[in-house]
């Protein structure tokens, strides 16, 4: 069983709408939406060996900032709950988390300190976005263009040993500014690709009730030294690019680097050059 199947088992408790996105939205009733997201990371499964405490702190803030960014929102606050096996890790860890939050305009505003057998961190991000620019996984329409920011696959290449992409893996950059611009340009849907591009497309397909026809000629693949660039591009996790769909007429209003990789089609599913893309990516399993 993986985390997507588990989430399905509690959908009746929480609601279809609430489980469809990485962020929860709350209407502030004044033209703004409050968005929030929470992520658990822990030593054995989420922090590649050799990471410094600063990098672990940075990444912990970055994962939740990326979720906030994927709504088109400006992050305002990060809360950090940390379970420590060794209290001396706290200061360098928090230096990393605070550096990351401040770089993207958010404040580490609180948290909780606990003892734990294994370093376990939960960061919660809160952001605000104007209702008109709020993006979700749902909303993609047939005819929209499918776009991404960044180059998926670099984090995976680093995980496989390519040192040139170490920063992509260990101090990823949440696409906060790009997310805000994409929302303002009028994107119909958006999410981050931190679990991998292919699985993210399937998640967006489910939420929007549409499909995606990709054209590999448009891909900007990472230059890899070993392994398959295409494999990393489609299935590698850990990159913090944004996947979004946008009506063609709106694209000219978008002032941020992006790659158009395909179009939205009526039938649910994901295809690349006419072939079905495998539904796999990063998932926790039990």
């Amino acid at each position: 069983m993986d985390d997507r199947a588990l989430l399905a088992s509690i959908r009746h408790l929480i609601g279809e709408d609430e489980t469809a996105d990485d962020c929860a939205g709350f209407d502030l009733q004044d033209g703004r939406i409050l968005v929030s997201s929470t992520d658990m990371l822990h030593e054995t499964t989420d922090f590649p060996k050799g990471m410094t405490e600063f990098e672990k702190g940075w990444m912990s803030a970055a994962v939740t900032l990326s979720d906030i960014a994927s709504c088109g929102a400006q992050p305002i606050q990060i809360l950090v709950a940390i379970g420590l096996d060794d209290p001396s890790r706290l200061v360098p860890f928090m230096e990393g988390a605070v550096s990351c939050a401040e770089r993207f305009g958010a404040k580490v505003a609180g948290g909780d300190i606990d003892s734990h057998t294994e370093l376990t961190v939960v960061t919660t991000g809160i952001g605000i976005v104007e209702k008109a620019h709020y993006c979700r996984r749902s909303g993609a329409s047939p005819g929209d263009l499918v776009c991404i920011t960044g180059t998926p696959g670099r984090a995976m290449a680093a995980l496989e040993g390519d040192e040139r992409y170490r920063e992509n893996l260990l101090t990823p950059i949440p696409q906060v500014e790009a997310g805000i611009k994409i929302g303002r340009a009028g994107a119909s849907s958006m999410m981050d690709v931190s679990d991998g591009l292919a699985i993210s497309l399937y998640d967006m397909s489910d939420a929007s009730g549409v499909g995606f026809a990709l054209d590999s000629a448009k891909f900007t693949l990472p230059a890899v030294r070993f392994g398959s660039a295409m494999e990393y591009y489609l299935y590698g996790g850990g990159d913090f690019g944004l996947l979004f769909c946008i009506p063609p007429a709106r694209l000219s209003a978008l002032d941020t680097d992006h790659t158009v990789i395909g179009t939205v089609v009526r039938e649910k599913g994901v295809w690349c050059d006419g072939e079905i893309v495998e539904k796999r990516g990063y998932a926790h399993t039990w």
Copy 2:
């Protein structure tokens, strides 16, 4: 080293103001304050033996709702990040968390599901309060009355084996309605006493720069079968009552059950019947 000492070690990173309360506040610039709080609980240290999964879920929501309540705020959302050793625990756990959140007007709006060697839960609560009614640990002034809701010590009595108080320990009731009323009545400061009354008074003393003179004749002690009622009352953790200070003239405006237990004095510290109260309560230690 305990968690209060550890928190002090990162105060320079996060800010004096941000580390002074259980909740972080954010000014929505429209007369409202957004408050947020996060709490980590895990199996071995936070869930007494014999608790059901439902009760663990309830308690996980309750601890953060209690923090939101202590600001005088109405909770709007709860996020639940859960690390599971066994995925079959998820549904009953979430049933408890959702029941608790809904009872107090909040929605479980999202979360994260992870695998972990030990059941580890972080709940984050978000609430909203009018700026004029926002309460913090700071703000108590000499001459104010010191008050509490509920009867501290019952959860501790249950932990020591008194079955009559099982619900106080395992399905505690966050004082959301009382907190809102206390804020509206014009309390000068407020916090919950989940770490114990004495240590909470010391925390409030630090934040407000004042002291507290308690009068034990005013205490409503729990009826205990063994152990010392006074020990449980002052030093027992796990109760979800609210500690607040309020100018005497405002007390008549307060329409919620409470006990006046003393007065605010100029000198920092905590005294009961003229004797210094020990500075101890619940704390994580390494």
